[in-house]
Symmetry: C2
């Protein structure tokens, strides 16, 4: 099979990479696999060094701290908590909760459990535990029947592709969305549920591969700062190199792109980077039993070595160009089926005329040995590993063309 979905975009350097096989046959690493520590209280002696070599070696601009977690949902849940704590510290003017706060929180009441909110975007996906789910708005099946929070939801720009051909129209659409964000922040403040943080994906993935311009994100970051909201960039799906840069937010060209950046999937371990001011002042505020898994960190270190030595970000950029060119050609060839080809690096997608045809294409492709994934209502998303080379692109395009010819 040619896997262009890679376990929902979570396999960074392909299956059975020799470097990983070698790593895990090293007897020195055996103890890490069989003895999982409670990292929050008993990190292994050399763990800080290992984090410096791995996660901190790819820390986003402006951040030198990271909190590991076991998965994407736990990463976002705890990042939200860090933003709430930070926001309350600002409101109080200090970090020491009052007796009234300490008592009321025990029974889920204010002021200890404050009426704060996180602003998210329609079409966004940030996980499915209950805090995350309140910021997820991609598909009803994820949310229906589960209680939620009354938090503000802004429109995400619905752009025309290729972006460069519609820059004027797209700029208007983005301006409309930014205006709405500001309105919502003011409205929720008046409601007594101030926005402590804004969470957004650099490219909405599960919601249909929706892109926005660097200008949009720069504008959003400014609005967050202006209104005193934390700015949380969720790179769970975009992080790890698939857009041609290690973090998708690097495409925005900012020194101060975010306050918090969360990750998982291709990073193998979950977690989030954060600015110093988001460091809780006391232990046990952000905590759970495992807080990640050193085995995953071990694998990540080796993945990062491979990305560097095999120059994979350059490969991704090259393969991504070939993939986009191929998708543009197929879109021109099958205008009744395909539209809106879009992408950054190999993080690409294309729309299909309807849901049924999309699903038909996915099944036919799989039967030809090509594994693809859907997203949104009727998109196909391409999520190859970083080792997806130009020749893989051509294999993919040939098979995809065969499927489309059958459908037509």
């Amino acid at each position: 099979m040619l896997d262009v979905y890679t376990q929902i975009s979570s396999i960074p350097i392909g299956y059975n990479h020799p470097a990983l096989l070698k790593l895990m046959t090293n007897p020195n690493n055996l103890s890490t696999v069989v003895n999982r520590p409670a990292l929050g209280i008993l990190p292994p002696e050399n763990f800080p060094d290992k984090i410096t070599e791995s996660l901190l070696s790819v820390a986003p601009s402006g951040m030198s701290r990271v909190q590991t977690m076991a998965c994407g949902s736990c990463s976002n849940e705890n990042a939200y908590k860090a933003m709430f704590i930070w926001y309350r510290n600002k409101e109080r003017g200090h970090s020491i909760p009052s007796e009234v706060e300490l008592h009321s929180c025990m029974i889920n009441q204010g002021p200890g459990c404050p009426d704060l909110s996180i602003l998210s975007f329609m079409g966004g996906f940030h996980g499915r535990t209950m805090g995350c789910l309140a910021t997820t708005h991609s598909k009803a099946i994820h949310k229906v029947d589960v209680p939620s929070f009354d938090w503000p939801i802004a429109p995400f720009p619905y752009l025309q592709y290729p972006l460069e051909e519609f820059s004027r129209e797209n700029a208007q659409e983005e301006a409309r969305c930014l205006e709405e964000v500001e309105d919502l922040i003011v409205k929720w403040r008046h409601k007594g549920k101030p926005v402590a943080g804004i969470v957004i994906e650099p490219i909405q993935a599960e919601g249909g591969d929706n892109h926005a311009s660097a200008d949009f994100f720069r504008g959003l970051r400014k609005i967050a700062s202006k209104h005193g909201c934390a700015f949380h960039v969720d790179e769970v799906q975009t992080g790890g190199g698939c857009t041609g840069k290690f973090w998708a937010h690097e495409h925005w060209g900012m020194d101060d792109p975010a306050d918090i950046v969360s990750f998982s999937k291709k990073l193998l371990t979950g977690g989030y980077y954060y600015k110093n001011e988001f460091q809780a002042e006391k232990p046990y505020r952000i905590f759970n039993t495992w807080m990640g898994d050193p085995t995953k960190n071990l694998l990540l270190s080796e993945v990062l070595n491979v990305i560097r030595t095999e120059n994979l970000l350059v490969e991704v950029t090259r393969s991504g160009k070939a993939l986009m060119n191929g998708l543009y050609e197929l879109q021109a060839q099958y205008p009744g089926i395909l539209s809106r080809a879009r992408g950054q690096g190999t993080f690409c997608a294309i729309d299909v005329c309807d849901d049924a045809t999309r699903n038909n294409i996915l099944v036919k492709a799989r039967n030809k040995g090509l594994f693809l994934g859907g997203c949104g209502d009727r998109s196909i998303r391409f999520r190859p590993a970083l080792v997806f080379k130009e020749y893989h692109v051509h294999i993919f395009l040939n098979l995809f063309n065969d499927v489309l010819a059958q459908i037509k």
Copy 2:
């Protein structure tokens, strides 16, 4: 070091058990470690068999289904969601949400996001993501500054120990708590926030090792059934053999002890067992990228083999008796320092006169090579691995006695 805390009770059969070392040097298992699948869509071919051999071989009474998850919090979060979906299906009379529900849930509003609640207990701990945190009430530092849900919280019985000496007083206290549970269920129904489920630990761990009688749990289970609430037993800390039975709820002697049983820690993987009626009728209702980790399942299978071949539940019962007897003796010897010795199997605890003395004991013990953990305001909890034999108990008691003599 003699570790009687074992990474917050999460190491089942001690460090570097030869069976686990052997397992992980088997080249056949290498692929599992380096290629983590998205279990919800692409389980490895033999994964169902492996789950049958491992998790399903120790399924609680009345349950033949299990959902794996990566950690305890995700297990409880998704168990809560399963209970909400189940409850709404009952209310609707069928499992198909209406168009209004599907639309309203996308913006976090009712009826799609219903005002349902989970009843939990003061002193309970069920995790720290936002859904779990709304049912956690052990320490303010876990909860303060984080928004929450207005859900009912019942008192957990505060009993006198040894239980058998105070059965009349304890029965009164338990009856009071059960009455309060029923009042809260009625009150929240009238508030328009019906209780979809009740969640409880068989022994409150983080909250201070609070026990209750089998009668109490049988009564609670009956109340849940009477009012149509799901009954979720959280065995994240009690599960895996440390009480002398594989699941602590087996001590209640019931055929139908629970609707949902969640686990993590000693089980190495998170997850929850559930009755057939809690199976979501559609895919993707309970879902995330990884949904557990086959490497942890591999380790768990071997742990279960070791528990059986080394007869570890019998060992736990024997060591537990020796430990309790020793604690009773020390309590008699140091009545100004120790009180309320209590336990089931090796899942034991004792109270210290005050917080400062407790912490002093923990530090002094550690400096003598004895690693212990605290819980509640001023308790010490004992959480050895299942391989903690009688001779380990005697080593522990001697060291603990030395520390107490110094404190005195």
